[in-house]
Symmetry: C2
């Protein structure tokens, strides 16, 4: 089977970029995958591990060679990378399609427009694979990371439809399910399902760690607490950057949550047995439905 | 090896009581384990499954036969059971040692004093095994549920020291690690590590389920959200009762958390990069330490 494109370039060869590279090579989507970045040792390691075919440290070279250029850096860095790349595309006879894997889309949408004098570049297709791991780095990358996972694309009216199609095909080749959303909707949904839970877990663990009984608290905590706080072991720099990039949607999500927690607090204080039971029962039903969805997708072995 | 006592009676033969019965029979702590309750079919099932040796539906009979009587009912029921049992012990030549496995200790301490005209019964040793499962019922019981798990006893000044020793030995026989705490400390620690996380998970899932974007939210949530919300699949009746029984400590825990969340919200709103980073970093360090503690105890395979 012929490859869909010749060259895919990965900018930022960590878990996300490395896993995409492995999947594309394994599935024959392109003839070759090249890496680009500032750190030669990790790119060289990528070649040694068989994650990429080759690499370059030269941005103009990667732009001239790539058919698709995937920015797999952390969120705030992705905005800087876009600001460096987009001006170089203007006037090129043949520009690569650009896409990304960052956790926030609104901040990149604004960064792209700012880099192009207020007009959004038609060949930039913003995206976000909903997959990850507590582990990080190219050593942790694996070809099946995206299998049965969702990738959200947030195309806009200015987009070239062929560019959108190409990015969609790339992610489909990794075994992912591709869905489309508006930029604002993506950021609100991710704030709710991911950014808010991280903030809650960090706030809880920090509050307990700083309390007088912290030693007894952590000594007596068990499995439920372990699962609930697992995401507080995530990278602080990455999550600080996400909180900054998605500030507005995250604040909305925190406020929505605080309102509901306040209502539940009142029910506890008033010993409102029916009110508590109604909330807990609705939540259990929604959580059980969600676990069933994940199980259907083959992601829900742990319930 | 001779048994430590002749008869242990389990009141409430579910996951917790059934697992204790299995462990005591497996480890030869007593000659026999009997069940007591109102529902004959589930007690009969317990005999069929080999969980208990025998059962009775008569409270006076179980009191006269047992050396140790373990109340393994849900929290609010345990208070009612205590109120029924304690008055019957007065004047008995030989009364069994009573203990329990409920999640809240202060409410049972008060119930016991109320049932004994204001004085705490010396033979009642309040306790709480920190173990459980999403599964429930005697069918889910297993002999190794308590191995390497903590059991908290909350003896008080009024307690007979031999009664405390006997209850301690019973739990040690299951492979558990036994620690002692004051009643108030137990309830504060459990509010922090278990009751508050359940309330937060229920509040989050209910808030998202009732939002306009709930369909997209649950469709796009992934592994981190699954772990974070797993405890929202717990039994609503059990958790409503725990919230009622531990109302005061739970309200304190909610308020402590809300204060910290409010501070973190201000850091996000102010784009206070250093403040967020400091909080996330402290939390990650505390969570990583906690995961290491669990791993040492053989409970932490999942990090």
């Amino acid at each position: 089977m012929a490859e869909r494109v010749d060259t895919v370039a990965i900018l930022g060869l960590g878990l996300i970029g490395g896993s995409l590279a492995r999947a594309l090579r394994a599935n024959g989507f392109c003839r070759r995958v090249i890496g680009y970045g500032h750190r030669e040792p990790s790119l060289r390691r990528g070649v040694e591990l068989g994650v990429i075919d080759d690499f370059t440290l030269d941005l103009d070279e990667v732009i001239s060679q790539a058919d698709i250029l995937v920015i797999c850096t952390p969120t705030l860095v992705a905005a800087e990378v876009l600001a460096a790349i987009l001006p170089r595309l203007q006037g090129l006879a043949r520009a690569p399609v650009i896409t990304d894997a960052a956790s926030v889309k609104g901040s990149l949408y604004r960064a792209a427009k700012a880099a192009c004098d207020g007009s959004f570049p038609p060949g930039l297709v913003l995206g976000h694979p909903i997959a990850g791991s507590e582990r990080s780095g190219v050593e942790a990358s694996k070809a099946d990371l995206y299998e049965n996972h969702r990738v959200i694309l947030t195309p806009v009216a200015e987009n070239d439809s062929e560019a959108v199609e190409l990015v969609r095909d790339m992610w489909l080749a990794t075994g992912a399910e591709v869905v489309e959303m508006e930029v604002e909707q993506h950021d609100a949904v991710l704030a709710a399902t991911s950014h808010l839970p991280h903030v809650l877990a960090y706030a809880l663990v920090d509050a307990l760690a700083r309390s007088d009984s912290s030693e007894e608290i952590f000594r007596c905590a068990a499995g439920g607490f372990r699962d609930f706080t697992r995401i507080a072991s995530s990278d602080p720099v990455m999550w600080r950057d996400i909180a900054i990039a998605n500030r507005s949607a995250l604040l909305d999500a925190i406020d929505l949550f605080s309102e509901h927690l306040g209502q539940l607090r009142e029910a506890v204080a008033a010993e409102d047995s029916e009110g508590m039971h109604a909330t807990f029962t609705r939540a259990k039903a929604a959580r059980d439905d969600f676990a069933a969805i994940l199980a259907q997708r083959g992601q829900g072995k742990q319930g």
